[in-house]
Protein backbone atom coordinates (compact mmCIF):
# COMPACT_ATOMS: atom_id res chain seq x y z
CA UNK A 1 0.00 0.00 0.00
CA UNK A 2 1.23 3.48 -0.89
CA UNK A 3 -0.32 5.59 1.79
CA UNK A 4 2.14 7.80 3.63
CA UNK A 5 3.63 6.45 6.84
CA UNK A 6 2.12 8.43 9.66
CA UNK A 7 5.46 9.64 10.96
CA UNK A 8 6.50 10.87 7.54
CA UNK A 9 3.21 12.66 7.03
CA UNK A 10 3.46 14.38 10.40
CA UNK A 11 7.06 15.32 9.73
CA UNK A 12 6.15 16.73 6.36
CA UNK A 13 3.29 18.74 7.79
CA UNK A 14 5.50 20.03 10.58
CA UNK A 15 8.15 20.95 8.05
CA UNK A 16 5.62 22.80 5.96
CA UNK A 17 4.21 24.54 9.02
CA UNK A 18 7.69 25.70 10.01
CA UNK A 19 8.10 27.11 6.51
CA UNK A 20 4.79 28.94 6.94
CA UNK A 21 3.34 27.24 3.91
CA UNK A 22 0.41 24.93 3.39
CA UNK A 23 1.18 21.26 2.98
CA UNK A 24 0.17 19.46 -0.16
CA UNK A 25 -2.78 17.99 1.70
CA UNK A 26 -3.94 21.43 2.81
CA UNK A 27 -3.57 22.78 -0.68
CA UNK A 28 -5.52 19.86 -2.04
CA UNK A 29 -8.34 20.56 0.40
CA UNK A 30 -8.36 24.25 -0.54
CA UNK A 31 -8.47 23.35 -4.21
CA UNK A 32 -11.32 20.97 -3.54
CA UNK A 33 -13.26 23.90 -2.11
CA UNK A 34 -12.63 25.94 -5.27
CA UNK A 35 -9.73 28.15 -4.12
CA UNK A 36 -7.77 28.94 -7.26
CA UNK A 37 -5.02 30.54 -5.17
CA UNK A 38 -4.30 27.12 -3.73
CA UNK A 39 -3.70 25.94 -7.27
CA UNK A 40 -1.23 28.80 -7.63
CA UNK A 41 0.60 27.75 -4.47
CA UNK A 42 0.53 24.10 -5.49
CA UNK A 43 1.91 25.07 -8.86
CA UNK A 44 4.70 27.05 -7.21
CA UNK A 45 5.67 24.00 -5.17
CA UNK A 46 5.57 21.46 -7.97
CA UNK A 47 6.49 23.42 -11.07
CA UNK A 48 10.26 22.78 -10.85
CA UNK A 49 9.84 19.00 -10.59
CA UNK A 50 7.03 18.74 -13.12
CA UNK A 51 8.76 21.09 -15.52
CA UNK A 52 12.04 19.19 -15.12
CA UNK A 53 10.36 15.86 -15.86
CA UNK A 54 8.38 17.16 -18.83
CA UNK A 55 11.39 19.03 -20.23
CA UNK A 56 13.41 15.82 -19.98
CA UNK A 57 10.83 13.91 -21.97
CA UNK A 58 9.96 16.51 -24.59
CA UNK A 59 12.24 18.66 -26.71
CA UNK A 60 10.05 21.57 -27.78
CA UNK A 61 9.71 24.38 -25.28
CA UNK A 62 6.18 24.96 -26.56
CA UNK A 63 5.29 21.33 -25.93
CA UNK A 64 6.78 21.52 -22.46
CA UNK A 65 4.75 24.62 -21.65
CA UNK A 66 1.57 23.02 -22.96
CA UNK A 67 2.06 19.78 -21.06
CA UNK A 68 2.96 21.51 -17.80
CA UNK A 69 -0.19 23.57 -18.04
CA UNK A 70 -2.26 20.51 -18.94
CA UNK A 71 -0.84 18.71 -15.93
CA UNK A 72 -1.81 21.35 -13.42
CA UNK A 73 -5.15 21.89 -15.09
CA UNK A 74 -5.86 18.17 -14.74
CA UNK A 75 -4.89 18.45 -11.09
CA UNK A 76 -7.42 21.22 -10.66
CA UNK A 77 -10.17 19.41 -12.52
CA UNK A 78 -9.62 16.06 -10.80
CA UNK A 79 -8.71 17.26 -7.34
CA UNK A 80 -12.18 16.30 -6.13
CA UNK A 81 -11.38 12.67 -6.89
CA UNK A 82 -8.09 12.67 -5.03
CA UNK A 83 -8.28 10.65 -1.85
CA UNK A 84 -5.43 11.10 0.60
CA UNK A 85 -5.57 7.55 1.87
CA UNK A 86 -5.17 6.00 -1.57
CA UNK A 87 -1.83 7.51 -2.53
CA UNK A 88 0.56 10.34 -2.08
CA UNK A 89 0.18 13.73 -3.71
CA UNK A 90 3.57 13.47 -5.36
CA UNK A 91 2.74 10.12 -6.96
CA UNK A 92 -0.52 11.56 -8.17
CA UNK A 93 0.86 14.68 -9.76
CA UNK A 94 4.00 13.09 -11.18
CA UNK A 95 1.93 10.30 -12.69
CA UNK A 96 -0.32 12.89 -14.29
CA UNK A 97 2.66 14.86 -15.58
CA UNK A 98 4.35 11.82 -17.07
CA UNK A 99 1.12 10.54 -18.59
CA UNK A 100 0.49 13.88 -20.28
CA UNK A 101 4.07 14.02 -21.52
CA UNK A 102 3.83 10.45 -22.80
CA UNK A 103 0.63 11.26 -24.65
CA UNK A 104 2.36 14.19 -26.31
CA UNK A 105 5.48 12.19 -27.04
CA UNK A 106 3.60 9.31 -28.63
CA UNK A 107 1.35 11.63 -30.61
CA UNK A 108 4.41 13.39 -31.97
CA UNK A 109 5.99 10.09 -32.90
CA UNK A 110 2.86 8.94 -34.67
CA UNK A 111 2.66 12.21 -36.59
CA UNK A 112 6.25 12.58 -37.58
CA UNK A 113 7.47 9.01 -37.15
CA UNK A 114 10.13 10.62 -35.10
CA UNK A 115 12.82 8.26 -33.89
CA UNK A 116 14.10 8.16 -30.39
CA UNK A 117 17.51 7.74 -32.02
CA UNK A 118 17.63 11.53 -31.95
CA UNK A 119 18.57 11.17 -28.31
CA UNK A 120 21.79 9.48 -29.44
CA UNK A 121 21.73 6.99 -26.63
CA UNK A 122 23.01 9.54 -24.15
CA UNK A 123 22.28 9.35 -20.47
CA UNK A 124 18.64 10.37 -20.32
CA UNK A 125 18.83 11.49 -16.73
CA UNK A 126 21.74 13.86 -16.86
CA UNK A 127 21.24 15.53 -20.22
CA UNK A 128 19.01 18.46 -19.27
CA UNK A 129 19.95 21.84 -20.68
CA UNK A 130 22.16 23.43 -18.02
CA UNK A 131 20.79 26.86 -18.91
CA UNK A 132 17.41 25.80 -17.62
CA UNK A 133 18.58 24.03 -14.53
CA UNK A 134 17.93 25.82 -11.31
CA UNK A 135 16.99 24.62 -7.90
CA UNK A 136 13.50 25.22 -6.55
CA UNK A 137 12.86 28.74 -5.29
CA UNK A 138 12.07 27.75 -1.72
CA UNK A 139 15.44 27.01 -0.01
CA UNK A 140 14.01 24.26 2.19
CA UNK A 141 12.33 22.68 -0.79
CA UNK A 142 15.58 22.98 -2.70
CA UNK A 143 17.43 21.10 0.03
CA UNK A 144 14.83 18.35 0.15
CA UNK A 145 14.82 18.06 -3.59
CA UNK A 146 18.58 17.85 -3.74
CA UNK A 147 18.66 15.12 -1.12
CA UNK A 148 15.96 13.17 -2.84
CA UNK A 149 17.65 13.47 -6.20
CA UNK A 150 20.90 12.35 -4.69
CA UNK A 151 19.28 9.20 -3.30
CA UNK A 152 17.65 8.38 -6.59
CA UNK A 153 20.82 8.95 -8.57
CA UNK A 154 22.69 6.61 -6.20
CA UNK A 155 19.98 3.99 -6.65
CA UNK A 156 20.13 4.32 -10.41
CA UNK A 157 23.94 4.20 -10.41
CA UNK A 158 23.78 0.91 -8.51
CA UNK A 159 21.74 -0.69 -11.27
CA UNK A 160 23.52 -2.67 -13.97
CA UNK A 161 23.82 -0.51 -17.07
CA UNK A 162 21.39 -2.57 -19.20
CA UNK A 163 18.76 -2.53 -16.42
CA UNK A 164 19.11 1.18 -15.98
CA UNK A 165 18.86 1.68 -19.72
CA UNK A 166 15.66 -0.33 -19.93
CA UNK A 167 14.20 1.61 -17.03
CA UNK A 168 15.11 5.02 -18.39
CA UNK A 169 14.00 4.25 -21.94
CA UNK A 170 10.67 3.20 -20.52
CA UNK A 171 10.21 6.03 -18.06
CA UNK A 172 11.75 9.04 -19.77
CA UNK A 173 11.71 7.82 -23.35
CA UNK A 174 8.15 6.62 -23.22
CA UNK A 175 9.01 3.43 -25.05
CA UNK A 176 7.13 0.21 -24.59
CA UNK A 177 8.99 -2.97 -23.81
CA UNK A 178 8.55 -4.05 -27.44
CA UNK A 179 10.02 -0.79 -28.67
CA UNK A 180 12.91 -1.05 -26.24
CA UNK A 181 13.60 -4.58 -27.46
CA UNK A 182 13.58 -3.34 -31.01
CA UNK A 183 15.77 -0.39 -30.23
CA UNK A 184 18.31 -2.31 -28.19
CA UNK A 185 18.20 -5.46 -30.33
CA UNK A 186 17.44 -7.58 -27.28
CA UNK A 187 14.73 -10.23 -27.04
CA UNK A 188 11.47 -8.98 -25.55
CA UNK A 189 11.76 -11.45 -22.68
CA UNK A 190 15.18 -10.08 -21.81
CA UNK A 191 13.86 -6.54 -21.76
CA UNK A 192 11.01 -7.57 -19.52
CA UNK A 193 13.38 -9.27 -17.11
CA UNK A 194 15.76 -6.31 -17.01
CA UNK A 195 12.91 -3.91 -16.39
CA UNK A 196 11.46 -6.10 -13.63
CA UNK A 197 14.78 -6.46 -11.85
CA UNK A 198 15.46 -2.75 -12.13
CA UNK A 199 12.12 -1.93 -10.63
CA UNK A 200 12.57 -4.34 -7.74
CA UNK A 201 15.97 -2.89 -6.81
CA UNK A 202 14.79 0.64 -7.19
CA UNK A 203 11.80 -0.04 -5.03
CA UNK A 204 14.00 -1.40 -2.28
CA UNK A 205 16.45 1.49 -2.45
CA UNK A 206 13.78 4.16 -2.55
CA UNK A 207 11.44 2.77 0.04
CA UNK A 208 12.52 5.41 2.60
CA UNK A 209 11.34 8.10 0.21
CA UNK A 210 8.01 6.59 -0.66
CA UNK A 211 5.21 8.80 0.52
CA UNK A 212 7.59 11.34 1.99
CA UNK A 213 6.24 14.65 0.95
CA UNK A 214 8.43 17.48 -0.11
Amino acid sequence: MTSEPAASGVAANASAALRGADTDAQLIRRMQSGDERALGAFYDRWFPIVNGLVARMLKSADDVEDVVEETFWQVWRQVGRFAEGRGSVQTWILTIARSRALDRLRAMRRRREESIDDDGGEDLVSSADPALVRTPDDPSLAVEHRERRQMIMVALDELPREQREALELGYFGGLSQSEIAERTGQPLGTVKTRMRLAMQKLRDRLSPLRGRAL
Binding site: V64, E69, R134, I152
Partner: protein, 290 residues
Protein backbone atom coordinates in the same frame (compact mmCIF):
# COMPACT_ATOMS: atom_id res chain seq x y z
CA UNK B 1 -9.01 -8.79 -24.91
CA UNK B 2 -7.39 -11.90 -23.53
CA UNK B 3 -8.00 -12.39 -19.81
CA UNK B 4 -4.75 -12.78 -17.89
CA UNK B 5 -4.11 -15.11 -15.03
CA UNK B 6 -3.07 -13.59 -11.76
CA UNK B 7 0.54 -14.69 -12.27
CA UNK B 8 0.69 -13.20 -15.75
CA UNK B 9 -0.80 -9.93 -14.62
CA UNK B 10 1.36 -9.72 -11.52
CA UNK B 11 4.51 -10.26 -13.60
CA UNK B 12 3.57 -7.37 -15.86
CA UNK B 13 2.77 -4.87 -13.11
CA UNK B 14 6.19 -3.20 -13.11
CA UNK B 15 5.94 -2.53 -16.84
CA UNK B 16 2.38 -1.32 -16.33
CA UNK B 17 3.60 1.09 -13.67
CA UNK B 18 6.12 2.43 -16.17
CA UNK B 19 3.42 2.53 -18.83
CA UNK B 20 5.72 0.41 -20.96
CA UNK B 21 3.21 -2.20 -22.11
CA UNK B 22 1.64 -2.37 -25.52
CA UNK B 23 -1.93 -1.15 -25.39
CA UNK B 24 -3.66 -4.56 -25.52
CA UNK B 25 -1.51 -6.03 -22.76
CA UNK B 26 -1.83 -2.86 -20.73
CA UNK B 27 -5.64 -3.03 -20.86
CA UNK B 28 -5.57 -6.68 -19.82
CA UNK B 29 -3.29 -5.99 -16.87
CA UNK B 30 -5.30 -3.01 -15.68
CA UNK B 31 -8.55 -4.97 -16.04
CA UNK B 32 -7.14 -7.70 -13.84
CA UNK B 33 -5.84 -5.19 -11.30
CA UNK B 34 -9.29 -3.67 -11.06
CA UNK B 35 -10.61 -7.01 -9.88
CA UNK B 36 -7.58 -8.12 -7.84
CA UNK B 37 -6.81 -6.26 -4.62
CA UNK B 38 -3.28 -7.62 -4.34
CA UNK B 39 -2.38 -6.57 -7.89
CA UNK B 40 -4.06 -3.21 -7.38
CA UNK B 41 -1.99 -2.50 -4.26
CA UNK B 42 1.19 -3.74 -5.92
CA UNK B 43 0.57 -1.55 -8.94
CA UNK B 44 0.04 1.49 -6.69
CA UNK B 45 3.31 0.78 -4.90
CA UNK B 46 5.18 0.40 -8.16
CA UNK B 47 3.71 3.64 -9.47
CA UNK B 48 4.88 5.41 -6.34
CA UNK B 49 8.36 4.09 -7.05
CA UNK B 50 8.35 5.14 -10.69
CA UNK B 51 7.10 8.58 -9.69
CA UNK B 52 10.31 8.97 -7.70
CA UNK B 53 12.24 8.81 -10.94
CA UNK B 54 10.97 12.26 -11.76
CA UNK B 55 13.31 13.56 -9.09
CA UNK B 56 16.23 12.17 -11.06
CA UNK B 57 15.79 15.05 -13.45
CA UNK B 58 17.25 18.36 -12.41
CA UNK B 59 14.52 20.68 -11.25
CA UNK B 60 13.83 23.31 -13.90
CA UNK B 61 12.34 26.21 -12.06
CA UNK B 62 12.62 29.02 -14.57
CA UNK B 63 11.01 27.69 -17.69
CA UNK B 64 11.66 29.36 -21.01
CA UNK B 65 10.99 33.05 -21.69
CA UNK B 66 8.89 33.53 -18.58
CA UNK B 67 6.77 30.49 -19.26
CA UNK B 68 6.47 29.76 -15.55
CA UNK B 69 4.60 32.98 -14.78
CA UNK B 70 2.69 32.76 -18.00
CA UNK B 71 1.39 29.29 -17.20
CA UNK B 72 0.61 30.31 -13.63
CA UNK B 73 -1.45 33.29 -14.72
CA UNK B 74 -3.39 31.22 -17.20
CA UNK B 75 -4.02 28.45 -14.73
CA UNK B 76 -5.27 30.63 -11.90
CA UNK B 77 -7.47 32.61 -14.26
CA UNK B 78 -8.95 29.43 -15.70
CA UNK B 79 -9.40 27.97 -12.25
CA UNK B 80 -11.12 31.09 -10.94
CA UNK B 81 -13.50 31.06 -13.88
CA UNK B 82 -14.07 27.35 -13.49
CA UNK B 83 -14.76 27.68 -9.77
CA UNK B 84 -17.30 30.39 -10.49
CA UNK B 85 -19.00 28.30 -13.15
CA UNK B 86 -19.14 25.32 -10.80
CA UNK B 87 -20.41 27.45 -7.95
CA UNK B 88 -17.27 26.93 -5.88
CA UNK B 89 -16.61 30.56 -5.08
CA UNK B 90 -14.31 30.92 -2.08
CA UNK B 91 -14.92 33.25 0.82
CA UNK B 92 -11.56 35.03 0.93
CA UNK B 93 -12.06 36.30 4.46
CA UNK B 94 -11.59 32.82 5.86
CA UNK B 95 -7.95 32.86 4.75
CA UNK B 96 -7.08 36.00 6.68
CA UNK B 97 -6.44 36.77 10.27
CA UNK B 98 -8.85 39.14 11.92
CA UNK B 99 -6.26 41.95 11.94
CA UNK B 100 -5.40 41.37 8.30
CA UNK B 101 -9.04 41.19 7.44
CA UNK B 102 -9.84 44.44 9.27
CA UNK B 103 -6.87 46.20 7.71
CA UNK B 104 -7.89 45.12 4.27
CA UNK B 105 -11.52 45.99 4.91
CA UNK B 106 -10.44 49.43 6.14
CA UNK B 107 -8.34 49.91 3.06
CA UNK B 108 -11.19 48.75 0.88
CA UNK B 109 -13.54 51.14 2.68
CA UNK B 110 -11.14 54.05 2.18
CA UNK B 111 -10.75 53.18 -1.45
CA UNK B 112 -14.49 52.75 -1.70
CA UNK B 113 -15.05 56.20 -0.18
CA UNK B 114 -12.49 57.75 -2.47
CA UNK B 115 -14.09 55.99 -5.30
CA UNK B 116 -17.47 57.18 -4.10
CA UNK B 117 -16.17 60.77 -3.94
CA UNK B 118 -14.91 60.56 -7.46
CA UNK B 119 -18.14 59.01 -8.56
CA UNK B 120 -20.10 61.77 -6.80
CA UNK B 121 -17.94 64.47 -8.44
CA UNK B 122 -18.36 62.87 -11.81
CA UNK B 123 -22.06 62.53 -11.18
CA UNK B 124 -22.30 66.26 -10.28
CA UNK B 125 -20.56 67.28 -13.45
CA UNK B 126 -22.75 64.97 -15.41
CA UNK B 127 -25.82 66.39 -13.63
CA UNK B 128 -24.90 69.99 -14.50
CA UNK B 129 -24.15 69.13 -18.06
CA UNK B 130 -27.28 67.03 -18.16
CA UNK B 131 -29.47 69.85 -16.82
CA UNK B 132 -28.10 72.24 -19.42
CA UNK B 133 -28.59 69.75 -22.16
CA UNK B 134 -32.06 68.99 -20.88
CA UNK B 135 -33.01 72.70 -20.76
CA UNK B 136 -31.78 73.12 -24.28
CA UNK B 137 -33.67 70.07 -25.35
CA UNK B 138 -36.83 71.33 -23.62
CA UNK B 139 -36.49 74.73 -25.31
CA UNK B 140 -36.07 73.08 -28.63
CA UNK B 141 -39.02 70.88 -27.87
CA UNK B 142 -41.22 73.88 -26.98
CA UNK B 143 -40.16 75.65 -30.14
CA UNK B 144 -40.90 72.59 -32.14
CA UNK B 145 -44.26 72.20 -30.43
CA UNK B 146 -45.16 75.84 -31.20
CA UNK B 147 -44.10 75.38 -34.78
CA UNK B 148 -46.14 72.21 -34.94
CA UNK B 149 -49.21 73.97 -33.45
CA UNK B 150 -48.77 76.82 -35.91
CA UNK B 151 -48.47 74.44 -38.78
CA UNK B 152 -51.54 72.56 -37.56
CA UNK B 153 -53.54 75.80 -37.27
CA UNK B 154 -52.40 76.87 -40.69
CA UNK B 155 -53.36 73.52 -42.04
CA UNK B 156 -56.78 73.82 -40.41
CA UNK B 157 -57.24 77.27 -41.86
CA UNK B 158 -56.20 76.02 -45.24
CA UNK B 159 -58.54 73.11 -44.85
CA UNK B 160 -61.41 75.43 -43.92
CA UNK B 161 -60.67 77.65 -46.89
CA UNK B 162 -60.50 74.64 -49.10
CA UNK B 163 -63.79 73.39 -47.72
CA UNK B 164 -65.43 76.78 -48.24
CA UNK B 165 -64.15 77.00 -51.76
CA UNK B 166 -65.18 73.46 -52.44
CA UNK B 167 -68.66 74.22 -51.03
CA UNK B 168 -68.87 77.38 -53.09
CA UNK B 169 -67.82 75.57 -56.21
CA UNK B 170 -70.32 72.84 -55.48
CA UNK B 171 -72.97 75.44 -54.85
CA UNK B 172 -72.14 77.20 -58.12
CA UNK B 173 -72.08 73.89 -59.92
CA UNK B 174 -75.41 73.03 -58.41
CA UNK B 175 -76.75 76.44 -59.28
CA UNK B 176 -75.52 76.20 -62.82
CA UNK B 177 -76.92 72.73 -63.12
CA UNK B 178 -80.20 73.98 -61.59
CA UNK B 179 -80.74 76.64 -64.19
CA UNK B 180 -78.98 75.23 -67.27
CA UNK B 181 -79.70 71.54 -67.14
CA UNK B 182 -81.35 69.74 -70.03
CA UNK B 183 -84.44 69.00 -67.94
CA UNK B 184 -84.85 72.49 -66.49
CA UNK B 185 -88.17 74.29 -66.93
CA UNK B 186 -88.34 78.08 -66.57
CA UNK B 187 -91.20 80.18 -65.22
CA UNK B 188 -90.98 83.93 -65.66
CA UNK B 189 -92.59 85.82 -62.85
CA UNK B 190 -93.68 89.44 -63.45
CA UNK B 191 -95.41 92.26 -61.58
CA UNK B 192 -97.85 95.05 -62.41
CA UNK B 193 -96.19 97.56 -60.14
CA UNK B 194 -94.54 100.76 -61.49
CA UNK B 195 -91.08 99.61 -60.86
CA UNK B 196 -91.82 96.05 -61.53
CA UNK B 197 -89.91 93.38 -59.74
CA UNK B 198 -88.88 90.53 -61.94
CA UNK B 199 -88.05 86.92 -61.17
CA UNK B 200 -87.23 83.65 -62.84
CA UNK B 201 -87.87 80.14 -61.40
CA UNK B 202 -85.73 77.24 -62.60
CA UNK B 203 -87.15 73.79 -61.92
CA UNK B 204 -84.68 70.92 -62.32
CA UNK B 205 -87.18 68.17 -62.64
CA UNK B 206 -84.68 65.35 -62.67
CA UNK B 207 -83.23 66.42 -59.28
CA UNK B 208 -86.39 68.02 -57.84
CA UNK B 209 -84.46 71.28 -57.46
CA UNK B 210 -86.03 74.73 -57.41
CA UNK B 211 -84.09 77.98 -57.91
CA UNK B 212 -85.75 81.40 -57.84
CA UNK B 213 -83.74 84.42 -58.95
CA UNK B 214 -85.44 87.80 -58.31
CA UNK B 215 -84.53 91.42 -59.09
CA UNK B 216 -85.85 94.83 -58.04
CA UNK B 217 -87.63 93.52 -54.99
CA UNK B 218 -88.38 96.21 -52.42
CA UNK B 219 -87.67 95.42 -48.82
CA UNK B 220 -90.77 94.14 -47.03
CA UNK B 221 -92.21 96.16 -44.20
CA UNK B 222 -90.98 95.40 -40.74
CA UNK B 223 -92.56 92.19 -39.47
CA UNK B 224 -93.13 91.07 -43.00
CA UNK B 225 -91.33 88.65 -45.35
CA UNK B 226 -91.58 87.25 -48.79
CA UNK B 227 -92.87 83.71 -49.19
CA UNK B 228 -92.53 81.47 -52.27
CA UNK B 229 -95.40 79.22 -53.42
CA UNK B 230 -95.69 76.37 -55.88
CA UNK B 231 -99.27 76.28 -57.18
CA UNK B 232 -100.83 72.97 -58.27
CA UNK B 233 -104.42 72.21 -59.24
CA UNK B 234 -105.14 71.11 -55.72
CA UNK B 235 -102.88 73.18 -53.43
CA UNK B 236 -100.46 76.00 -52.90
CA UNK B 237 -97.21 74.49 -51.62
CA UNK B 238 -94.98 76.52 -49.28
CA UNK B 239 -91.45 76.64 -50.80
CA UNK B 240 -89.93 78.89 -48.10
CA UNK B 241 -89.52 82.50 -47.00
CA UNK B 242 -86.76 84.93 -47.96
CA UNK B 243 -85.56 88.51 -47.74
CA UNK B 244 -84.01 90.47 -50.63
CA UNK B 245 -80.63 92.14 -50.46
CA UNK B 246 -80.30 95.30 -52.46
CA UNK B 247 -83.38 94.22 -54.35
CA UNK B 248 -81.81 90.94 -55.30
CA UNK B 249 -82.73 87.48 -54.01
CA UNK B 250 -82.00 83.86 -54.75
CA UNK B 251 -84.00 81.08 -53.15
CA UNK B 252 -83.25 77.40 -53.47
CA UNK B 253 -85.51 74.52 -52.49
CA UNK B 254 -85.93 70.84 -53.06
CA UNK B 255 -89.35 69.39 -53.53
CA UNK B 256 -90.61 66.47 -55.56
CA UNK B 257 -93.51 67.36 -57.79
CA UNK B 258 -95.18 65.56 -60.67
CA UNK B 259 -94.08 66.97 -63.97
CA UNK B 260 -97.52 68.02 -65.09
CA UNK B 261 -98.88 69.23 -61.77
CA UNK B 262 -97.26 72.69 -61.60
CA UNK B 263 -99.61 75.41 -62.61
CA UNK B 264 -97.97 78.53 -61.37
CA UNK B 265 -95.22 80.01 -59.15
CA UNK B 266 -95.90 83.00 -56.89
CA UNK B 267 -94.26 85.22 -54.26
CA UNK B 268 -96.46 86.88 -51.66
CA UNK B 269 -95.87 89.37 -48.89
CA UNK B 270 -96.52 87.57 -45.60
CA UNK B 271 -96.02 88.02 -41.87
CA UNK B 272 -92.50 87.18 -40.65
CA UNK B 273 -92.08 83.45 -40.32
CA UNK B 274 -94.43 82.73 -43.18
CA UNK B 275 -97.93 81.34 -43.39
CA UNK B 276 -99.37 77.92 -44.20
CA UNK B 277 -101.37 79.38 -47.01
CA UNK B 278 -100.97 82.67 -48.90
CA UNK B 279 -102.66 85.54 -47.10
CA UNK B 280 -100.88 88.66 -48.31
CA UNK B 281 -100.41 90.67 -51.48
CA UNK B 282 -98.93 88.89 -54.46
CA UNK B 283 -95.59 90.41 -55.38
CA UNK B 284 -94.66 88.42 -58.48
CA UNK B 285 -96.29 85.44 -60.17
CA UNK B 286 -95.83 83.36 -63.30
CA UNK B 287 -97.91 80.87 -65.27
CA UNK B 288 -96.22 77.48 -65.60
CA UNK B 289 -98.52 76.08 -68.21
CA UNK B 290 -97.32 78.33 -71.02
Amino acid sequence: MRELSHEEAFAALDAAALDALDSAEREAVLAHADQCERCREELAALRATTAQLAFATPAVSGGVSGSRERIRSRLTARAAADAKVRGLAVDRTTDLSTREYRAIRTRINVLAWRRAEWIALAASVLLIVGVGVMASVLRDRENLRDALDGAAASTQRSQRSTDSLRALVMYKDSLINGITGRDVAMVHLTSSAARAPDAMMFWDRSRNGWTLVAHDLPMPQPGRTYQLWLVTPTSKINAGTFMPSNGEAMVRATYALARDSLRAVAVTDEPAGGMPQPTGQMVVAGNATK
